[in-house]
């Protein structure tokens, strides 16, 4: 390459660096602006809430009305099911059988001790929250539980769902 060509290639390279830096800076500023539109704090009731001291949990069914949430305890396992009917949002009724009952639901035989029935339009859910009758399009969501390391309280996180066999060991 001639001297002139080398010089011109170098100039072209520097120009490109300069362009990259320039556009990069502008892009960075606009990225910052876009980031500002993702809220960091919300003025809403939180989705992660403290429920109860686990030693005050009753065996079987516990209901928390202000969160519309069932928390079940069997032995050393606990899990949480929403009480909000997935059809139009009514609060479902807890229907205990008092004993283990075998039922044929959707072609399968299952054993259960309770169900959830919605008083508004007749949706029916199995013990695990699966929908088997009525207009609701899906089953009741299960939410994860944890023990709050700060206070030792049971905490539910209603911002995400877990599978129906999810359990917390206490």
């Amino acid at each position: 390459m001639t001297d002139k060509e080398i010089k011109s290639k170098r100039r072209e390279f520097l120009k490109n660096i300069g362009r990259l830096v320039g556009y990069g800076t502008l892009g960075g500023v606009f990225a910052g602006f876009a980031r500002s539109l993702w809220p960091n704090i919300l003025y809403e009731p939180p989705k992660r809430v403290r429920l109860i001291d686990p030693k005050n949990l009753a065996e079987g069914m516990n209901y928390f009305p202000e969160h519309r949430l069932f928390v079940f305890k069997k032995g050393n396992e606990v899990w949480a099911i929403s009480a909000i009917c997935q059809h139009l949002g009514c609060t479902v009724n807890f229907v205990p059988f008092g004993q283990k009952v075998k039922k044929k639901i959707l072609g399968k035989i299952i054993e259960e001790e309770w169900e959830f029935h919605c008083p508004c339009h007749g949706s029916k859910y199995t013990q695990d929250g699966d929908i088997y009758a009525g207009p609701a399009p899906r089953g009741l969501p299960h939410y994860p539980l944890e023990i709050d390391p700060a206070t030792g309280f049971l905490v539910v996180d209603m911002s995400r769902e877990v599978k129906k066999d999810w359990r917390l060991k206490v």
Partner: protein, 411 residues
């Protein structure tokens, strides 16, 4: 493949990087953004020393304000209950919220300053004159420019109220009370501006609407006309100098420069430079926020924003008690004197009798007197601003800037 990509790339950017003179000329009519410019401009009109590029700087600042303003519209709430909190959230809880607010505020202050300096430059270079051009009527642009200055001040003033803190509400109280002092119409002006008899939610939403849509739209329309008139007036006033030289027989051919890419590149330079300056202020200087607005107590002293401080100082010194009668300083200092000054400056473009040779050149001899008078008033205004900012302390008393008396706290 590479060849295809390169062709697409060229098709997109050829107007900004013309290969030859033919393309340079065609680009002006084929690119929406470039149609604003003539195919070529004189090198002198593009020089740093002539215009100082203050007009472009002002336009760039307006653009920065528009972009940051639009983002802020998603985050600020114009309600008397929520406004202050939304600003506090910007400062502490929104990612880059402090950045947005600082940039918006500093660009606003810079824009008021640069529009003012642009006016000063235009006056000193006699650029409102028409030289020997028969078709040019640059006085019109001077008037439009003065209106633009007013709109810029109103934009800044309406924006000042929005944080709804003590600084906002009392600064706007001072300003609207000055407006109220206009005889006969004063009370009605205040009533419509504030949407009531005092500054409350109605005032906030009116100022907000003025600030985010009405005044920016007005400014955009006037600015477009302002730019169009430059084309109609055959370019910046400096071109008159070349015309005069040629007419007198001098073998002068003005050095012409293709608008694309050279003028475009310089505009990019000025834009980037302005932006980097605003970025510097944004990163290193904070934006103040005082206590939440309360009409039950007034901060001591209560001051208008800096670009109106000269008005407040004028009002203070024209409020003179003669026996049992007090001169209405609000009207004299706040309305009459500024109206006279502004009006005189505006119509001067039509009255100026200096020769055509004084067009488009700095400090022409024939305009010495008017330049001195103008300088006197400009310095007076700037002086009053500085004085009111640093030497007026609590109770509007005069103190050395380092010796302001300490005001008590609560606990």
């Amino acid at each position: 493949m590479k060849e295809k990509l390169y062709q697409v790339w060229r098709a997109l950017i050829w107007t900004f990087d013309p290969a030859d003179r033919g393309e340079a000329g065609k680009a002006i009519t084929r690119n929406f953004w470039l149609h604003w410019f003539p195919p070529r401009m004189t090198k002198r009109s593009l020089s740093w020393g002539y215009s100082l590029w203050l007009g472009t700087i002002s336009a760039v600042l307006f653009f920065i304000l528009t972009i940051t303003g639009i983002i802020l519209m998603f985050l600020y709430v114009p309600s008397v209950e929520r406004a202050y909190q939304s600003i506090k959230d910007l400062e502490y809880a929104v990612s880059f919220g402090w950045f947005l607010r600082n940039m918006h505020r500093w660009a606003a202050h810079m824009m008021v300053a640069s529009v003012f300096l642009h006016m000063v430059r235009v006056f000193y270079t006699g650029a409102y004159k028409n030289g020997i051009s028969h078709m040019a009527k640059r006085q019109i642009n001077w008037v439009v420019g003065m209106i633009l200055l007013g709109v810029t001040l109103l934009l800044s003033f309406s924006g000042y109220l929005l944080p709804w803190d003590q600084l906002a509400i009392w600064a706007v109280t001072v300003g609207t009370q000055i407006a109220r002092s206009v005889p006969i119409l004063g009370d009605d002006i205040y009533y419509v501006l504030a949407g009531g008899t005092r500054l409350d939610q109605n005032a906030l939403i009116r100022f907000y609407t003025l600030h985010v849509i009405f005044l920016p739209a007005l400014l955009l329309v006037l600015f477009s006309y302002h730019m169009w008139r430059i084309r109609k007036d055959e370019g910046l006033a400096s071109v008159e100098q070349e015309k005069i030289a040629r007419k007198s027989g001098k073998p002068v051919q003005p050095e012409m420069v293709f608008s694309t890419p050279w003028a475009v590149r310089r505009i990019i330079l000025v834009s980037l430079g302005t932006f980097v300056w605003v970025l510097f202020l944004t990163v290193f200087l904070e934006s103040p926020l005082e206590e939440p607005a309360s009409l039950e107590w007034t901060p001591n002293p209560a001051k208008a924003p800096w670009y109106f401080l000269w008005l407040q100082e004028l009002v203070a010194i024209t409020t003179i008690r003669i026996g049992g009668f007090t001169l209405n300083g609000g009207f004299i200092g706040g309305v009459l004197i500024p109206a006279i000054l502004g009006g005189a400056a505006t119509i001067w473009a039509f009255i100026d009798k200096s020769p055509p040779e004084a067009t488009g050149v700095w400090f022409h001899r024939s305009r010495l007197v008017q330049n001195l008078v103008f300088t006197f008033f400009a310095l007076l205004i700037v002086g009053m601003i500085i004085f009111a900012m640093y030497f007026r302390g609590p109770y509007w008393g005069v103190y050395w800037p380092w010796a302001w008396p300490e005001l008590p706290e609560i606990i």
